[in-house]
Symmetry: C2
Subunit: 320 residues, 2 copies
Amino acid sequence: MTTIRAGVDLGATKIQAVVVGEENAVLGEAKTETPTAGGPPAVTAKIEGAVREAAEDAGVAVDELRGLGVGSPGAVERDAGTVAHARNLPDWDEPFPLAATLGDALGTTVRVENDVKVAVTAELELGAGRPYASFLGVWWGTGVGGGLVLDRKLWRGRGAAGEIGHIVIKRNGARCPCGRRGCLEAYAGRGAMEAHARKLVKRGQKTDLFELMAKRKRDRLTSGVWADALEHGDKMATALLDRAVAALGAGIGSAVNLLDVEAVIVGGGLGTRLGEPFVERIAAAARPHLFVDERPPAMLPAALGDLGGAIGAALLVEGA
Amino acid sequence: MTTIRAGVDLGATKIQAVVVGEENAVLGEAKTETPTAGGPPAVTAKIEGAVREAAEDAGVAVDELRGLGVGSPGAVERDAGTVAHARNLPDWDEPFPLAATLGDALGTTVRVENDVKVAVTAELELGAGRPYASFLGVWWGTGVGGGLVLDRKLWRGRGAAGEIGHIVIKRNGARCPCGRRGCLEAYAGRGAMEAHARKLVKRGQKTDLFELMAKRKRDRLTSGVWADALEHGDKMATALLDRAVAALGAGIGSAVNLLDVEAVIVGGGLGTRLGEPFVERIAAAARPHLFVDERPPAMLPAALGDLGGAIGAALLVEGA
């Protein structure tokens, strides 16, 4: 049987597909925009198209693939192959049978898993996590997601482990997009940071953030917009990122005190975009909170970059 | 070979020894005060005496024991059998070969382990943790210690995992006895609570806490003193315990979001003394912080009570 597999990283803004072969070498790839309307069927059709395109790029027929793995946001039921509550995808609240629908359309076996878990597993098998028996993955993007690797296995708890974004770093603190108060994500999530920036602008504070957003033809403050603003020395962007770094330091310090893992790997849209210098700043912010401070964990950026999610998703295919 | 083993719970105020037989049934016990001077040799001599007394109570000779396990505060090196930095024991900072010294004195094999890890393991094997594959043990006493059981094994990380007392619940918050800021222990540890109460009294606030302490002939606010003050409706005691409960709720909520364990078991001096009603209050305080709030973990008090530490220590003996 062939070792050629496909993987899809389903994101809020783009769908990235890859086809990989021996030792996870990328043989073909395709990228498309995530639809903003039409619900799960529209999204599923786009995924199908991207997989077909990546297979063509690789010179293989889709029905020759060993299978397809999909990393999806929202609440994923792995065994059922369904996705629910994908708030950043169009009209996607009720459970939708993503694996079965795609499997029928493509004539191959499909497995679905939570996108952050997929990315963390990819770092474990192929990326920055390879040298470590235990690490914490912190996925810093619109939200702050996470994954916990213990004894070289993803720790799932009762299915929802890894939510480092919802560690409380300030009791009665800022309101989090999840509705609770004082969570790490309320300070460090890109979504919460944008909401905060908009509020400050309404109060009359100055920033170039929204001009830079318009220049990039975006309707949200993407990671690229934040990076641009930093380069321009924008004061608000600098202050909000400082606040996010301090919050990440406290949350990561807490998690390390509890778990004493060997390493912390920082990925996600903002983490990948801001890269090594910010990982060092987060490490410095965590240090004062470490109970055993003479041997801090290694702190390093995710190694797989933009294709990591899709390559990781291809690992979901049985026999990968 | 005999199954009869000894176990010692070495505490800051008392040394509890037990001798146990088949199925960990207690055959003999002895209790003595922990010396407040004389350093490790004085403490070791007291442990030896307590073990001899417990063996006599059980009707066995110490050299017939299969071995002795000791649960100790401070930094324990299990393989070396040494204890260092036991701040609540007299002049005990440098590593002291507790296992070797006791082994020579008693003519039996001695194993040493961190006291909280011993107590959590005891709950796992014999107590409230028996039905669960994963749980978090929160030991609420002078400090706030913890232990993490995952897949029915104690998770040690690089040796220091479980420090839930040093989860940050309020960035830039109260000073913790560990020297850092905003840790859970800074709000909920009995040591920090007493320091806070003394400060409030200096500022002119009223409380019966220190009168009750004197009546019990204690020089610190023990768990019993706090319980007495609560029963008397003492306002300061009530407020400080409310604050501790809120802090424990935030820290436990954070840990559950990260680990998604099946249960949380609350033990330790204060936890055991205040019991079930306080465990319920802590559960209620954690609830608003739970990311997946429709299926909170079971929250329950430690089941083994006062002898739990010593019985758990006896489990350290090989072949137990």
